[in-house]
Subunit: 143 residues, 2 copies
């Protein structure tokens, strides 16, 4: 569904959303441990997300990654789009680049329905949800 990079990225963003109450910053090591992912790899991914403006960071001691009020409004869809592009939102299920309403592939219409529901779901799931859900017994990110 998503690339490994994207899976890690989403997990990290959710983790940061959960941990970064009141602008407290989280370090790469903490994040990597918290979501069970390779440390150096997640560092690279987070730097990319920061460059693209989905995430905020601060260097030096007491530094780390965090999400302010605005960044917490970011949806899972935004993260996916930033990392995997929008193939999953608009691409043909069979990988045909000319597939369209007027020249649909054999499963175009069936796929469209699924894609749209997925789109809606990802667009409507925002990081601030997890920020609030923190204490509840749902949303495990590691074993």
């Amino acid at each position: 569904m998503f690339s490994k990079t994207c899976e890690y990225g989403i997990r990290a963003m959710i983790y940061i959303a959960q941990q970064s109450k009141n602008d407290i910053k989280v370090g790469v090591k903490d994040i990597a441990a918290g979501i069970d992912s390779p440390e150096y790899f997640i560092a690279k991914i987070l730097q990319e997300l920061t460059r693209k403006g989905l995430l905020l960071s601060f260097k030096g001691p007491t530094g780390g990654f965090y999400l302010d009020k605005k960044a917490l409004q970011c949806s899972i869809a935004d993260i996916v789009r930033a990392i995997d592009g929008d193939k999953i939102f608009s691409g043909c299920g069979l990988g045909l680049d000319y597939c369209s309403e007027s020249k649909p592939c054999p499963i175009h219409h069936e796929f469209k329905k699924i894609r749209e529901e997925m789109s809606d779901m990802l667009n409507n799931t925002r990081l601030d949800e997890f920020h609030e859900k923190l204490a509840k017994d749902i949303g495990f990110l590691k074993r």
Copy 2:
């Protein structure tokens, strides 16, 4: 969504289903041209599908790939499972291997719904549909 290999595989199977009326066999070259895919690559994929019993083949002149009545009952889901495995049907959206009903990831339930609809759709789309739809103006596999 699917790997390139899987996309090609599905396209080829649909193409064969459309072309192989009355046990007429289709050659790799024909298939590759018909679905706009690299010839050697699709050959390898089709051999794998044949080995797994989803597709039938015959060597020598007048040989090629074909689908008999039984093989035409194969669903898109069967093809996906044979090539990409069942990650897409049962895997966690965030790639967590322990994610489950009792220890759900933060988007487990939302994902489950989508996954199930996709599952249903792929399971309910069978090759014989395309066999019949052949002449109609739907189901383009190439530009």
